[in-house]
């Protein structure tokens, strides 16, 4: 599977490394050229030597997305630190490039819920944390 991951923070880079280790083709896009360090943390070879690719560019830039390979991706992960950026590029991947599996990270539970209803696969870390904390503290028990 060829996967494009936009946003190379803790989340994006972890998914990227795991998927590469599992034998998938992985392309990562981030606006910060230094973000590649996240991918090489704890590794002895460079990200590219490991077989991954890395593109520097802003998430909304079509040229950067194309360079990263959005038009031939089987899966697309939007995991920048901006909810709105993630929601826009995820829809670009889905509607314009017909990427089959699109996953979006959305921190705001309300937006995550509404876009999920509109057919986007959203993951809301905030909502997950709320539920885990509620369980931990014993709400509703």
């Amino acid at each position: 599977m060829f996967v494009v991951i936009v946003g190379c923070g803790r989340v994006g880079s972890s998914i990227a490394k795991k998927m590469l280790a599992e034998g998938h083709d992985v392309s990562v896009l981030d606006e910060d050229p230094e973000a590649i360090a996240q991918l090489e943390k704890g590794e002895t070879s460079t990200w590219e030597d490991l077989g991954g690719s890395f593109t520097v560019g802003t998430a909304l830039e079509i040229d950067a997305l194309l360079e990263a390979g959005i038009d031939r991706a089987d899966a697309f992960v939007a995991s920048t630190d901006g909810d709105n950026t993630n929601l826009v590029i995820a829809q670009v991947a889905q509607r314009r490039y017909g990427v089959e599996k699109v996953v979006v990270r959305v921190l705001d539970p309300a937006r995550a819920r509404w876009y999920e209803e509109q057919g986007l696969r959203t993951v809301c870390p905030t909502q997950i944390a709320i539920e885990m904390l509620e369980t931990a503290v014993g709400v509703g028990v």
Partner: protein, 226 residues
């Protein structure tokens, strides 16, 4: 009319002021605390503090009863999202978005956010109008109606110069609607003669542009037609 404006920067603030002056009811949303305080001194209760891309903030501003939502923040992704939820979630009939980077216009288009107004794009068009580099200028695009209005300059050596309008050989689906000459314009008849230096306005079906350029381009006519 009830208007919700998101973003109280220079554009948002001035828009709010003008729209209130014209008798509209209006709420502006601003998420920078300091900016909010400044704007509140003048607009008072018409400005609310908060992130206008959060649904509850939009709801608190009364988006459900808004006739018009205008998103003019400095971030295109925010403007797109705000207009998309305004239309699709809250059923707002009219939205207007500011597009900061004209390269993002395609995203606005893809997600059905229109009109998207780009100052950069407008200025670029004005520059093109002053200095017609390619000799062709889009005056109006109606993608929905599949129509456009363009302006073409008749440059030296243009095959169109000296011809009557009926003999120009422009394709079916296009029409010369006006000729600008010496600072004034007129609606031509079939036997009006096009002269070098004229600016010719045409209305045409989308997609005919190349064929029409070929009619006006010096030397380009034959090679393109062939």
């Amino acid at each position: 009319m009830y208007v919700v404006v998101v973003g109280a920067g220079k554009v948002g603030w001035n828009l709010a002021r003008e729209l209130i002056d014209k008798g509209n009811e209006l709420t502006v949303i601003e998420n920078d605390r300091a900016r909010f305080a400044t704007v509140e001194e003048e607009l008072e209760h018409a400005v609310q503090y908060g992130d206008g891309s959060e649904l509850w903030v939009l709801e608190r501003a009364g988006i459900e009863r808004a006739d018009l939502v205008i998103a003019v923040t400095g971030d295109d992704e925010d403007n797109i999202l705000i207009c998309q939820v305004a239309r699709e979630k809250y059923g707002v009939e009219r939205v207007i978005a500011r597009c900061n980077n004209p390269r993002n216009l395609q995203h606005f288009e893809l997600l059905g956010v229109k009109p998207a107004v780009s100052a950069t794009d407008l200025i670029l068009r004005l520059i093109e109008h002053e200095v017609p580099r390619v000799g062709l200028l889009h005056l109006l695009d109606l993608p929905q109606e599949r129509l456009e209005i363009i302006e073409l300059e008749v440059r030296a050596g243009s095959p169109a110069a000296g011809k009557q309008v009926r003999d120009l050989g422009i394709p079916e689906g296009s029409l010369v609607i006006s000729i600008l000459r010496d600072g004034t314009g007129f609606v031509p008849l079939a036997d009006s003669v096009v002269e070098e230096g004229d600016e010719v306005l045409l209305v045409l079906d989308t997609g005919l542009e190349e064929k029409i350029t070929a009619v006006f381009e010096p030397g380009g006519g034959q090679s393109r037609a062939a």
